[in-house]
C-alpha cells in the first residue's frame, strides 16, 4: 500500500480536477486550531460528493458515481488503508482462509478517479453542506454517509474497560487475527464462549456461521474442547433450519437461546447472563450495535437513537437534505444488514445522486441480497432475497434458501465473493 499523505492527496486531486494551483497550503499560514476550519482543504469548482466510509456501501457508491458521471468529483473518507471483508472473515478464525485473501487496497477506486483520503470525518454540518475533518473541512453538494455499525459497549458491564481482552472480531481486521490466535492457543479441553447480541445487528447469520467455524476448528484440532453459544435472541435469527441441521455434525456445540449477556469479567474469565454465570477460556463477545458514531452525532438516527431512516429509492436521510445514508446504519427497509445489500444500496444511491445532480428523474430501483454462510471448511448454505419498489417503498418479492448444505453452494460462494469484491473495489 502506498502511503497517501494529505499533501500528496491534495496534489493528486488538484491535478485530477484540473484546478492547477490550490488556493492554500496546509501547515503554513493556516497552522493552528481554528484557522483551517475557515477554508475548504481541497477547494473545487466542480460538483462534489463526499462519501464517509469505504466499506461495502461507501466504496461501491464512490466508484459508481465516478462511472456514472466523471464530471462529479468524489472524495472518499476512510481512515483504514485497507478494506478487510467481513464476509468470509469467519473462515480466518477456523484457519481455512488467511486474512490476506480477504484484504484489498483502494487503488481500484483511485483508478476510477475517486479521491481516497485516509482520514476520519469528525462532524457533519448539514445546514452548511460540509464535513469536518481533524483540521479543515470539505464542502459537498451531496454527502453519502456509510459508517457501518458502532458497538454499544455500555450495554455490557465490564466490556468498555476491557476492549483489548474481550474481542468482538465483528469488524474484520486485526481483531479477526487476534481471535484466531486466541482460539489456536486455547488448551484442548477448553471452553470457547460466543455471545450473540439482540437484533438488529450486522450480518444476522454471521454469529451462527462463526459458531460453525469455531466448532469445526475445535472438532478438527481440539476434540476435547467445547463451544457454548449464548444467544440473546429466542432462536437462531437467520437460516434457522439449515444451521440446526449443520450443527448436528458438531456435538461439541452447545446452543443456549434467550441468554442475554449483561456482564463480562476477564479477571474471572466469566460472562454473566440475566440468569447464569458461564466460565470461559476464550470469549468472543459480539456487542449490541447501533449506527456508526458520526451518524448518531449528526442526528441522522431516529427516535431509537440507533439507526437511520432513509428514503427507499434515493437513500436520502429523512432528517437532513442532501445527506444520504447507506448500509448497516439504515433501518426501515425490509432488508438484512449485509454486505450484499450495502453494495446494492451503494449502486442505487450512486445512480440516484448522479440523476439528482443532473436534474434527471431518479429511476425506481430495489436491492437484492445473496448471502452465503460456511458451515464447515468445504460446505455452505445460502439465503437469497429479491425486492421491488411498491408505492415508493422496498418490498420483498421472495426469499429462498438452499435446500441443504453442499460443496457446490460453497463454490458459488467463492464465485460470489470474487465478483462482488470486484464490484465494490475493482
Amino acid at each position: 500500500m502506498t502511503q497517501f499523505t494529505r499533501r500528496e492527496f491534495l496534489r493528486a486531486g488538484a491535478a485530477g480536477a484540473g484546478v492547477g494551483v490550490l488556493g492554500l497550503s496546509l501547515g503554513g499560514g493556516l497552522a493552528g486550531c481554528a484557522a483551517p476550519l475557515t477554508a475548504d482543504i481541497a477547494p473545487t469548482t466542480r460538483r462534489r460528493v463526499v462519501v464517509i466510509g469505504g466499506g461495502w456501501g461507501g466504496a461501491t457508491a464512490a466508484k459508481y458515481i465516478r462511472m456514472g458521471d466523471p464530471s462529479i468529483e468524489v472524495i472518499l473518507l476512510e481512515p483504514n488503508r485497507e478494506f478487510v471483508s467481513c464476509p468470509f472473515s469467519n473462515l480466518v478464525l477456523s484457519g481455512v482462509r488467511k486474512i490476506d485473501s480477504i484484504t484489498f487496497g483502494y487503488d481500484g477506486l483511485r483508478r476510477h478517479g475517486v479521491r481516497v483520503l485516509h482520514e476520519a470525518a469528525t462532524a457533519i454540518e448539514p445546514d452548511r453542506r460540509r464535513v469536518r475533518l481533524a483540521d479543515g473541512y470539505l464542502q459537498y453538494d451531496r454527502l453519502i454517509v456509510s459508517p457501518g455499525v458502532e458497538f454499544q459497549w455500555e450495554q455490557v458491564e465490564g466490556l468498555a474497560a476491557n476492549q483489548d481482552k474481550v474481542l468482538h472480531a465483528w469488524k474484520a481486521g486485526p481483531q479477526t487475527v487476534q481471535l484466531a490466535r486466541q482460539l489456536q492457543s486455547m488448551p484442548d479441553g477448553g471452553v470457547f464462549v460466543l455471545t450473540v447480541p439482540p437484533i438488529a445487528f450486522r450480518c444476522p447469520p454471521g454469529p451462527y456461521e462463526r459458531a460453525c467455524q469455531v466448532a469445526w476448528y475445535l472438532k478438527t484440532h481440539k476434540p476435547k474442547s467445547k463451544l457454548i453459544v449464548l444467544d440473546a435472541n429466542q432462536n437462531i435469527v437467520s437460516k434457522t433450519g439449515l444451521f440446526r441441521e449443520a450443527w448436528k455434525a458438531y456435538p461439541n456445540l452447545e446452543y443456549r437461546a434467550s441468554n442475554k449477556v449483561i456482564a463480562v469479567d476477564p479477571g474471572l474469565r466469566e460472562v454473566r447472563t440475566e440468569f447464569d454465570k458461564v466460565k470461559y477460556d476464550v470469549v468472543n463477545l459480539i456487542p449490541p450495535q447501533r449506527a456508526g458514531t458520526i451518524a448518531v452525532q449528526a442526528d441522522l438516527v431516529g427516535a431509537d437513537k440507533r439507526w437511520c431512516e432513509v428514503n427507499h429509492t434515493t437513500y436520502e436521510s429523512v432528517k437532513h437534505k442532501n445527506v444520504h445514508v447507506l448500509g448497516d446504519s439504515t433501518i426501515g427497509l425490509p432488508v438484512p444488514k449485509s454486505g450484499n445489500v450495502a453494495n446494492a444500496m451503494g449502486k442505487i444511491c450512486a445512480i440516484a445522486v448522479v440523476a439528482l445532480l443532473n436534474d434527471k428523474p431518479v429511476p425506481l430501483m430495489a436491492p437484492g441480497n445473496t448471502c452465503y454462510s460456511w458451515v464447515s471448511d468445504r460446505e455452505a448454505i445460502a439465503v437469497v432475497n429479491a425486492y421491488k419498489i411498491e408505492n415508493g417503498k422496498v418490498v420483498q418479492i421472495e426469499q429462498t434458501l438452499t435446500p441443504a448444505q453442499s460443496p457446490f453452494v460453497a463454490q458459488r460462494a467463492e464465485g460470489w465473493a470474487k465478483s462482488i469484491w470486484h464490484d465494490v473495489l475493482g
Binding site: 445512480i351 440523476a355 445460502a382 429479491a386 463454490q411 464465485g415 465478483s419 470486484h422
Partner: protein, 201 residues
C-alpha cells in the same frame, strides 16, 4: 432521405462508441436497461462479464435464450435457490429490457487458467458435444442451443453435473438427449470438457 442517412450515421457512431467502451465508460447509467441490471453485477460482473469461475457470463447472450432461462428459474423448472428470487425480480422489471441489455454487451471470455493438457483431453472428449454446440462451441441461436465458448470452467462443470444427475430442469423432455450423453461421461472428464470449452474464443 438525407435526415435518415444522418440518423443512421449518428446511430452507427453511437454503436461504435458503445463497442469500444469498456462496458460503461460512455454514459453507462443511460444505457437502456442499466437501471434494471445493476443488481446482477454483484455476481455476474460488470456488464455481465463475470470475473469468477462459478458465475456464468451473461454479456452477449441471445435474448431468447436468456428469457427462456429466466422463465425456467422463476417457475422452478430450472431449480436454483439463488436465481429463483432474482428471476422473479427480472420478470417484475421486464425480462425483455434486461435480456436486451445483456445481449448488447460485448462478451469478455473467462480468463483461462486451465492447464493445456486438460484442455487437450477435453477437446478429444468433445465429439458428442459438437453435434449440437458446434465445432467452436458457439451453439445455435435459432435452435436455442447456447454457446459454451469462453464461459467460466467451474460454471460449465457444475452444469454438466446437474444434467447428469437430472437436477437441471428435472424431467424436461427437451433435455433428455443431453442428459443421456452426460450419464455416459465420467465426472472427472467434466473438468476437462469445461477447461476445453472455457478456453475457446
Amino acid at each position: 432521405m438525407h435526415t435518415m442517412a444522418t440518423a443512421l450515421l449518428a446511430c452507427t457512431a453511437l454503436l461504435a462508441v458503445l463497442a469500444v467502451s469498456d462496458g460503461w465508460a460512455a454514459g453507462p447509467f443511460d444505457a437502456p436497461g442499466f437501471t434494471k441490471v445493476f443488481t446482477c453485477t454483484a455476481c455476474h460482473g460488470p456488464a455481465g462479464n463475470s470475473p469468477s469461475d462459478s458465475m456464468p457470463i451473461l454479456a452477449g447472450m441471445p435474448p431468447a435464450y436468456f428469457k427462456k432461462q429466466i422463465a425456467a428459474y422463476a417457475t422452478g423448472k430450472r431449480p436454483s435457490p439463488e436465481m429463483a428470487p432474482y428471476a422473479k425480480m427480472v420478470m417484475h422489471l421486464g425480462a425483455d429490457d434486461v435480456a436486451a441489455y445483456f445481449a448488447a454487451q460485448k462478451m469478455q471470455p473467462a480468463k483461462s487458467a486451465a492447464d493445456p493438457a486438460a484442455v487437450e483431453r477435453g477437446r478429444k472428449a468433445s465429439d458428442q458435444c459438437i453435434v449440437c454446440h458446434g465445432k467452436e462451441g458457439k451453439g445455435d441461436v435459432d435452435k436455442g442451443i447456447p454457446s459454451l465458448a469462453g464461459q467460466p470452467a467451474g460454471f460449465l462443470r457444475e452444469q454438466m453435473l446437474l444434467f447428469k444427475t437430472d437436477k437441471r430442469n428435472p424431467g424436461d423432455v427437451q433435455l433428455k438427449a443431453i442428459k443421456a450423453i452426460m450419464a455416459t461421461i465420467q465426472d472427472a472428464t467434466f473438468a476437462d470438457l469445461a477447461a476445453y470449452y472455457s478456453s475457446l474464443r
